[in-house]
């Protein structure tokens, strides 16, 4: 007692004030240092969630959990994802069959799919030659002959609808540190595209060209040029003002810079090479999916650590938001309703046209870029309300719910602090701060495509479920 009390009696008071702001005023008037918290009831005030949180924060449990989380973030930070090749899904993706359609988010059946996903599925069935036309594709999709499965359950991620079929070309990203591999398909670039739910002839035609020209050329280029260190490229892109989820200008240039010498050496015609470069130049999104596979390779390495409360997956299928947590191994999805995305829209569209949050791309934020690295991308602050300060505040807030900072991927404007890394379920519930996700907005109906971009959050319910499930495993 005596030493602690004596040191209190001989120190200047520095008070952390929890709850009543009026005490701040009184204490300040008396010359004490005061820090008043921006406090909200933890766990949203639910006694059941609070009990789960208390169980997880019990010192004996917390000691094990903290160690498990340290291991998890070590794996995230230490993962070294390398782009090693490209290949057709049927050839490279585990468990892929000619009649499998992978989709974004947690598991969902055809009848419950959002408009954008249905549009993408029917387009993919036509593209694969499994259906004559879109009507036939709808019948087939509903027939039970098609296997629908989440990308995440096949080492894959898919942006927006995430629809991936057998003959689509995939990035192959190998995590050199931990030996696992992740896959994602190629960027289709512009707005009227399959992953956004568009499926007309122009969309299918582009997919055919990607299958016959772009994909094989990339595959051959990688065989010539060898692996590309994606974490290094991501880090450079952040320094150049991308947050690598909604802004991909710098990343696309860097990736193109890395691939171009090998692309030029491939056996394709100059005309075909020009088509590829024109395609890359047609939008800034070319590198978008590449970062998703990079993040997936790192996050999978951190999944399945006993007792860890680190989030390893955030994914949405347009109807439900799904969460996976390291300490709940395998494919244990915690789900809640997909949320609206708030942000500016392309000319000609209105908020009522928007579908709900969709895509596996929130693997960006799960790793620590995208919305978490908003402070590094002042050029797109319009997505978060308009000011650079607000963008910085988003990154700072994410620091409150994460375990560490990634020293390999840093933010110059914050004195080269690392990106916030390792979302901790306990911290999300204790602070009431939900992860922020930068994302695109797809039209609510099939066949139209992208109509805007903005930010969204997971439903709090998925974290509450996670806390209860984790508390059960430690009890």
């Amino acid at each position: 007692m005596s030493t602690q009390a004596t040191s209190l009696f001989t120190s200047d008071l520095s008070v952390v004030n929890v709850g009543l702001a009026m005490f701040d005023r009184d204490l300040t008037a008396q010359g004490a240092q005061v820090t008043t918290l921006d406090w909200t009831p933890p766990g949203g005030g639910s006694p059941e969630v609070l009990a789960a949180l208390d169980a997880l924060e019990d010192p004996r449990v917390a000691e094990r959990t903290d160690a498990a989380n340290a291991e998890a973030v070590d794996r995230i930070v230490g993962a070294r994802p390398m782009l090693v090749g490209f290949g057709r899904a049927i050839d490279v993706v585990p468990g892929m069959t000619p009649t499998t359609i992978l989709h974004a988010g947690p598991p969902i059946t055809w009848d419950r799919m959002a408009g954008a996903m249905k549009g993408a599925v029917t387009g993919a069935l036509v593209f694969e030659g499994l259906a004559r036309d879109l009507d036939d594709a709808e019948r087939l999709a509903a027939s039970g002959e098609i296997t629908f499965s989440p990308c995440h359950e096949h080492d894959c991620v898919g942006s927006m609808a995430g629809v991936t079929s057998a003959s689509m070309y995939m990035h192959i990203v190998r995590n050199e540190t931990h030996g696992n591999t992740a896959f994602t398909n190629l960027s289709e670039q512009m707005a009227k595209i399959l992953r956004m739910g568009a499926n007309d002839e122009s969309v299918i035609e582009r997919l055919v060209w990607m299958r016959d020209v772009l994909g094989p050329m990339l595959k051959e280029a990688m065989e010539i040029g060898g692996p590309v260190d994606l974490r290094l490229l991501l880090s450079q892109a952040l320094h150049m003002g991308d947050e690598c989820h909604n802004r991909n200008i710098a990343g696309t240039l860097l990736l193109t810079q890395a691939l171009t010498p090998a692309l030029l050496q491939t056996s394709f015609t100059t005309e075909q090479k020009k088509e590829v470069f024109d395609f890359i130049a047609s939008s800034d999104y070319f590198s978008g999916p590449t970062w998703l596979a990079m993040a997936k390779a790192a996050m999978d390495a951190a999944h399945g650590i006993e007792g860890s409360t680190i989030v390893t997956t955030m994914a949405r299928n347009g109807v439900e938001f799904g969460l996976r947590v390291s300490g709940l191994p395998g494919n244990q999805w915690l789900t809640g309703p997909a949320q609206p995305v708030i942000g500016p829209m392309f000319a000609g569209f209105r908020p009522e046209d928007a579908g709900l949050d969709i895509g596996d791309s929130a693997i960006s934020e799960t790793y620590g870029f995208g919305g978490f690295a908003m402070a590094t991308a002042p050029a797109i602050v319009a997505l978060v309300g308009g000011t650079v300060q607000e963008a910085v505040a988003f990154t700072r807030d994410m620091g409150e719910i994460t375990t560490t900072q990634n020293p390999n991927v840093t933010i110059p404007a914050l004195g080269f602090e690392g990106i916030p890394t390792g979302i901790d379920v306990r911290k999300v519930l204790a602070t009431g701060i939900l992860p922020v996700i930068n994302t695109a907005i797809a039209h609510r109906e099939a066949g139209i495509g992208m109509i805007g971009a903005g930010i969204t959050h997971p439903p709090a319910a998925v974290f509450e479920q996670a806390a209860r499930a984790l508390a059960r495993t430690v009890a």
Partner: protein, 516 residues
């Protein structure tokens, strides 16, 4: 419906800015639909689908900005267009959320970021208070829990944790402390000095500190242990740690212990600490026994006033003295009462002030009822009407559940004052007015209308109603003591000079009224 289209040559905006501008343009009054975009093939395709692609727009290049405004018949297109163009001019960012202000959401993050932090005040709903206090202790912070309604099991766990870490866990249910001359939560502005106080009672602690100040002395440290610290369950953990800390504190020359009636076994445990303190220890436990205290080597105090006086005499000024209550003052009051007026009604904010007056009256009558009565047969609840002599502690959990403490929100007490004035058997109404940090900014002022109403009710019925007020405060408080006393006296209220004197006044008037 009519449409205006403009192409601004060589005007580039990035796509995110354009989405934002477009969204705002669509919200302009009078605009049916607005389209602001670069002249890319894709954007021209969208316009074509909407049937809006004119030849001019079709000729726009990727470096040209297209503005298309669709508005109702008769709209002023030129004006709308200029409003849209204004959106293209970026305004300076708003000052909202300055880059330098850092806010923390949790004790963990604040404690991490502020290494010199040494104490946490927890004033959240009782259901969450334990958790926040635990977090603070785990981060090595001393804690003051202001919240009420914290389960006692939780209090025991927290205090055991605090004890094991050598930290103070002050409160709950006693929102008063003075650490290093800084009053925490409820507290008065008193001068620094050498009297250390450990108190299991909030207003008891305030009263003792104010009386010590009135005697010209001052406070070294005042540790509020929580109102239940001396219960069987808690076992005096914090009072014992407090005594030890003050015993070790070179700035403290004498120690005062204050509590409502403790559990006997706990009292013994606490008193056993006195011998080893190496400093004089004055003990005021409401209703406590002189023998027990003296046998343990302590100095027995019969009242808060007595506790303050003895502490000052033992540690600061051997000649300190206070004036006694004048018998004449009581006689004058009793002379004005009718035979029917026999009872005292005490309406208190402060638990110990209530207890002290009640114990004074118990010396002359058994007919004493209260929400804090130890005798369960004479216990009242928040909803009960008064019986005989009634003392209500409006700061008790029963009254505060879900609402602010009466020291902040006086509404329940004001209503009760008017109600008591209707009762023809009431002779005297006692009220305390607590000044200081955390308290209402003008406790007397906010009560004056109810006092006037109560007095009018009595006088309309042909009775004299004696209202006795005690203001707990110092000349350093805001508002100052003298100001509040003057306002009470102007309203015809008899003002007492201490909590102890208030009790004596109640006891003596009750004794005389009964005799009559």
């Amino acid at each position: 419906m009519s449409i205006t289209a403009v192409v601004k040559k060589n005007t580039y905006f990035d796509s995110v800015s354009l989405m934002s501008i477009s969204t705002r343009a669509n919200q302009l009054p009078g605009v049916e639909q607005a389209f602001v975009a670069m002249g890319t093939e894709m954007n021209k395709g969208v316009l074509s689908n909407l049937g809006l692609l004119t030849a001019d727009l079709g000729a726009a290049g990727t470096g040209d900005l297209m503005i298309v405004v669709e508005a109702g018949e008769g709209a002023d297109h030129a004006a709308l267009l200029s409003e849209v163009e204004e959106l293209l001019v970026q305004k300076a960012p708003s000052a909202r959320g300055g880059a330098d202000t850092v806010t923390y959401r949790t004790v963990d993050s604040a404690a991490r970021a502020i290494p010199e932090a040494n104490l946490a005040i927890v004033a959240v709903n009782g259901a969450y208070a334990g958790r926040e206090a635990r977090k603070a202790l785990e981060n090595g912070l001393h804690v003051m829990v202001f919240s009420d309604n914290v389960p006692i099991e939780e209090e025991v766990r927290l205090k055991q944790l605090a004890h094991s870490k050598g930290l103070f866990m002050m409160g709950p249910d006693c929102g008063t402390a003075i650490i290093n001359n800084v009053a925490l939560c409820f507290g008065n502005a008193v001068r620094p000095g050498t009297v250390g106080v450990v108190a299991a009672s909030g207003t008891g602690a305030q009263e003792v500190s104010v009386r010590i100040h009135a005697l010209g002395a001052g406070i070294s440290q005042l540790i509020g242990t929580g109102g239940r610290d001396l219960s069987e369950q808690v076992g005096g953990i914090m009072m014992i740690d407090g005594i030890r800390a003050l015993a070790d504190d070179p700035g403290t020359s004498v120690i005062v212990l204050v509590s409502k009636p403790p559990a006997p076994a706990v009292q013994d445990k606490v008193l056993a600490e006195i011998a080893g303190a190496g400093k004089p220890v004055v003990v005021y436990f409401v209703g406590g026994s002189e023998e027990t205290v003296t046998a343990a080597g302590g100095h027995f105090a019969a009242s808060t006033q007595d506790a303050a006086l003895q502490a000052v005499r033992l540690g600061v000024d051997a000649h300190a003295a206070v004036d006694e209550l004048a018998a004449k003052q009581v006689d004058e009051v009793c002379a004005r009462l009718s035979p029917e007026q026999r009872y005292v009604r005490g309406l208190f904010c402060g638990g110990t002030l209530c207890d002290e007056s009640m114990y004074a009256l118990l010396e002359v009558s058994d007919n004493v009822w209260s929400n804090i009565q130890k005798d369960p047969g004479r216990r009242l609840t928040a909803g009960s009407s008064s019986v005989g002599h009634t003392f209500l502690d409006f700061g008790d959990d029963d009254f505060t559940n879900g609402r602010p403490h009466p020291m902040i929100d006086p509404s329940l007490r004001l209503a009760r004052l008017v109600e008591e004035a209707e009762d023809p058997q009431v002779a005297v109404i006692l009220m305390d007015f607590v000044l200081g940090f955390g308290a209402h900014e003008d406790p007397v002022g906010v009560t004056l209308p109810a006092i006037a109403q109560a007095r009018k009710i009595a006088s309309d019925a042909g009775r004299h109603l004696e209202i006795v007020g005690y203001v707990l405060g110092t000349d350093l408080d805001t508002p100052a003591l003298a100001e509040q006393v003057a306002a009470l006296e102007a309203a015809g209220v008899t003002v007492t000079r201490s909590s102890t004197e208030t009790g004596h006044f109640a006891r003596e008037t009750a004794r005389k009224a009964h005799r009559a």
